[in-house]
Symmetry: C2
Subunit: 389 residues, 2 copies
Amino acid sequence: MSALFRFDVLARAGRARRGRLQLPHGDVETPAFMPVGTRAAVKGVTSEMLVDLGAEIVLANTYHLHLRPGDDLIARLGGLHTFMGWSRPMLTDSGGYQVFSLASRRTLSEDGVVFQSHLDGRSYKLTPESAVDIQSRLGADITMTLDECPSWPATERDVDAAVSRTLRWARRARTRFDALRSGGVTDVARPTPGQVQFGIVQGGTYPHLREASAAGTVGIGFDGYAIGGLSVGEPIDAMLETAAKTAALLPADQPRYLMGVGTPSDLIQAVARGIDLFDCVLPTRNARNGQLFTRHGPLNIRNARYAEDPRPIDAECGCPTCRHYSRAYLRHLAMAGEIGSSTLNTVHNLFFYLDTMGSIRKAIEFGTVEDLERTFLEAYSRRQPTSDD
Amino acid sequence: MSALFRFDVLARAGRARRGRLQLPHGDVETPAFMPVGTRAAVKGVTSEMLVDLGAEIVLANTYHLHLRPGDDLIARLGGLHTFMGWSRPMLTDSGGYQVFSLASRRTLSEDGVVFQSHLDGRSYKLTPESAVDIQSRLGADITMTLDECPSWPATERDVDAAVSRTLRWARRARTRFDALRSGGVTDVARPTPGQVQFGIVQGGTYPHLREASAAGTVGIGFDGYAIGGLSVGEPIDAMLETAAKTAALLPADQPRYLMGVGTPSDLIQAVARGIDLFDCVLPTRNARNGQLFTRHGPLNIRNARYAEDPRPIDAECGCPTCRHYSRAYLRHLAMAGEIGSSTLNTVHNLFFYLDTMGSIRKAIEFGTVEDLERTFLEAYSRRQPTSDD
């Protein structure tokens, strides 16, 4: 573990942890939500707006950036932070999830995966080693190992095979990562000082496979651990139960990241089950479709009932959108297809997510996280399609 | 003229004027450029970003807002300023230009113009009186009279007829405006206190028709005067010559607004010919297409030569985009179709326009506007498609 990396659990409430992640580009207060900046940009907002919103860490997608504009180009321009004008911590994924969900004509082998770009059909190969190299060139604070993520539903046999392969790939990824850090590789730039690597636990919703995957991954030894293969279609209860059981198998003094999760109620429930880090496209993607999150549940601003509504999205919200604009104006922008609709809606949704994480952190400090979970879920399910919202 | 309205010429340099326009929602230093917020939003930026960019006045389009969401709705929500979260001065056009350029199945008569919405085919009627009423409900600081704008090229006979009709409509518009202000109309809300009305001079590029139109319009008496019917396809020299001759026919102590103009070099040349106010979609529309304005001429950020260019758009520019992002990153965003491309490019282009107007104002104060015009035009034409930019 690098001297620039450190994770401290500052407080606990039940299984919930209030922590601080120290990374080369700054501190991240956990539990934390990471806005998704797929192509080195969080859609709808600028990097300065993200700073104003209080985002402490952003995720970018290795698959997308490898294809365009290319990690070589980004490295020559000084790395991802410089490239996108973001000086705070970043995490890059391994690219595996997008290869499995976006790329066409995919051929999986023990060596890695050969796929065609969804942009232009060009052929690429991603291996556990090349995923490390690409992320080294991108220069994020936290990098992820290449994993095999089975689709949902999958047979136990398939999940078992994916767990085994993910473990073998994790070993190769760690070896490559160590080699890069020690200067033992000459054709790839050495990673950002302090760059760390998280391993990924797979195993679907099969407890014994999660156990095997967690034991093997922890055995290799990473700077932190992600729980992958969830939020891919399984029921929410199964997701939460698996997250809880898997979190309990991970080292108490290291960060735990639940990949691709989730709704506001998912977040608070997962925190109560021991999760520290999250990423999800929901707040940004849904903003562009007009879905706005509030403490009383989501609303769709395109609904005709908001046409003359002079109120802000959420009267209790302190975000710039709620401070300056009415639901009527936001509906007008959405109906007219104005770019500003995406921007103002994204600002609100990200503020809501980040603000909710702040409330969760406070509740853990005060030991009231179970109260928060109950009252939050109660309020969040209150909005009815026919109510006066 | 309202007590809340005042125009002072603070300095002159040749025919150029350095003025201050006092309006109900604040002061506008002239010569000024008005960003265009067609549908109550300047595409790509929020109202707060416009304030940060130093925009002192914004234009919105009566035609678009009348169709959607409707001026009645905007009035019930407190008017355009409240609706769009913009507390500084605004100008609304009369809707005429869009009726002539966008609407389908247009029937023009002495009474007004019947047209079908380009959105849903619904039929609408716009008259000199209803254009006043709609703008009264929208509540901008400056309103415009309905004019007939002939397309280019047009015969002298057609332009002559348009000038005559525009004058008759201007008289009706002024009568209606006065009736609203005096409380003599009960079915329309009284206008925003201090709301003023500008008349529009037509006449194409025919000097004697411009003279007749100016004399007639000034004879009716408005709070300011616009030069319409230019920048519709005529050569730039004809535009500048007509603007210069028409400006000379207008009262020396009242503001002069050249509608729909123009490029940065158009602006400086028109100021030198006595113009005080401008609006144009160029900085915002071209930003979305990747054309960025610089003091060395425009560049298109999509060009492959910028793929690895670490420099800002313009090294001398102080805008947030140039302070934080490279040409390489902006090209990446443009090629990837990211929303952020529109936002960051629009911020730069608007900053460039507003900053250029600031330099022009300073040059008038220092009496060096002719030097600025020469050096600006020289530098602006310097960029060659093959040069190292």
